[in-house]
């Protein structure tokens, strides 16, 4: 089976500064890959390039066989960045309806209702997001990301600033998505949580690939091990 996410010697520059250097990575369909690295190592850049938000200069990327930024790639990808990506002046239901419609979902009504149930926002679905608490917004963002049942999920620091309830919900959603055949690539610097969820890990330092492979029991027992073995400066 061809990998769902494939990067071949990808270079991405900001001006003359290479933010991604010769990055090669394959994530097989159904895998959950944790993208690890320090702040500024290039995690966000890599995810933005995959999501088609930022062009890359050299190399080749394919998402389920499509180029990033192509219509098909975007239709099959769910992206959750640092921001929650929902409109403050629309209600939860309106937000979901908008994103469902532009994604080309027909008869979106019942999936929207069931997602609102699932993230426990059904009772407040018609109140503008402006009035939501932080946790409610984050749950709505999750619903937006998972709504169109994307086959690839790109999540940038999904656990940062989530409350416990949302973290639990996120873990559950990711498990369900994987069970449904989705491929997940998420960045994080909370290694312990990442190791529990991930089936694979890839380590990035200064835009370079340092390690990529299956998450082993050793990593689960000693999360710092990976960094000590594979980064130049060690530790973090």
């Amino acid at each position: 089976m061809p990998p769902a996410i494939r990067l071949e010697a990808v270079w991405k520059y900001y001006g003359d500064y290479p933010a991604l250097r010769n990055y090669t990575l394959q994530v097989a369909e159904g895998d959950c890959c944790a993208l690890l690295g320090r702040n500024g190592a290039g995690k966000t850049t890599l995810l933005r390039v995959l999501a088609g938000l930022s062009p890359f200069q050299k190399g080749d990327i394919s998402l389920l066989g499509w180029k990033p930024r192509s219509g098909e790639a975007r239709r099959n990808t769910g992206f959750l960045g640092h921001g929650i990506g929902v409109y403050e002046d629309l209600s939860a239901r309106e937000n979901l309806r908008f994103f469902a419609t532009v994604a080309g979902m027909k008869q979106a009504h019942s999936p929207i209702s069931s997602w609102l149930e699932r993230v426990d926002l059904a009772r407040v679905a018609d109140i503008p997001v402006r009035q939501y608490s932080r946790g409610m917004r984050q749950r709505l963002a999750l619903a937006r990301t998972f709504l169109a049942s994307p086959r690839i999920l790109l999540l940038d620091e999904p656990f940062t600033s989530l409350d416990d309830r949302a973290i639990a919900m996120m873990g559950e959603l990711l498990r369900d998505a994987r069970a449904g055949g989705a491929t997940i690539l998420f960045s994080t610097h909370q290694i312990r949580e990442a190791m529990v969820i991930a089936s694979h890990v890839t380590l990035i330092e200064q835009g370079k690939l340092r390690y990529s492979g299956v998450r082993t029991q050793e990593m689960l027992d000693d999360p710092g091990h990976l960094y000590r073995e594979h980064t130049e400066l060690g530790g973090f």
Binding site: A51, G52, G71, F79, G83, G85, V86, Y87, L90, V102
Partner: protein, 225 residues
């Protein structure tokens, strides 16, 4: 999904937000009316020459009001990083740009309608002599303003000096369009439709076609970087 339909959905979403908050409508409408008021001190509002410069007066109001509208257009996508969410979604960059243009188009037409009534009221100009032609001129010129406004709103959305850069970049480019709109509107206000009108009408049309195609073609370049 059809790109035009996507654009309409983006516009529908924006208009829903705008009618709820009325941020740019209030600002642009009030600004246009204030300019109309200020101009009454520049010349004698009772003199018959008002009709001969009415077009210029109106289109200055619309252009200045427009800047307030499309400054908000893409800025509305900044909180919560909605722009990223939209760009990563199946909406194409050109649909997004067109959607923003449609939003500004509708909002600006509303501002124009209000300004026209205020203008007729304050300056005693009978602007309704050729309602259909006037509407056609307004629609064509407003679309040109809206599409350039959307393109340059997208360009400047991530700049620190957004509010300053947008007018500096956009007014010079809009000038041919504004000149044509002013000439045509003056002719309509003075009730004298000449053969020149056709020429200026053509300028409007060509402007719309050229800049709309450029904006659609360059949408990816402008938005994804």
């Amino acid at each position: 999904m059809n790109p035009l339909l996507q654009a309409l959905w983006v516009a529908r979403k924006d208009l829903a937000i705008e009618f709820r908050t009325k941020e740019s409508l209030n600002a642009a409408g009030a600004f246009a009316v204030v300019i109309l008021l200020l101009f009454s001190f520049v010349f004698d509002p009772a003199s018959p020459e008002v009709a001969t410069i009415g077009g210029g007066l109106l289109w200055l109001c619309f252009a200045f009001g427009g800047a307030l509208i499309f400054n908000r257009g893409f800025a509305r996508e900044l909180p919560n990083e909605c722009l990223d969410a939209l760009l990563a979604s199946p909406v194409s960059a050109s649909s997004l740009l067109a959607g923003k243009a449609i939003t500004s188009f509708v909002l600006l037409l509303i501002v124009e309608a209000v300004s026209l009534f205020v203008f007729g009221f304050f300056y005693d100009v009978r602007w309704w002599l050729h309602p259909l032609k006037l509407f056609a001129v307004c629609a064509l010129a407003t679309w040109g303003i809206a599409i350039l406004g959307a393109a340059f709103g997208a360009m400047t959305v991530n700049l620190k000096l957004r509010e300053l850069m947008l007018p500096v970049l956009i007014y010079p480019l809009l000038l041919p369009l504004l000149m044509a709109a002013i000439e045509l509107t003056n002719n309509l206000l003075m009730n004298q439709v000449t053969s020149d009108s056709l020429l200026w009408g053509r300028v409007l049309l060509v402007f719309d076609i050229v800049y709309t195609s450029l904006a659609v073609a360059l949408a990816e370049t402008i938005l994804v970087n």
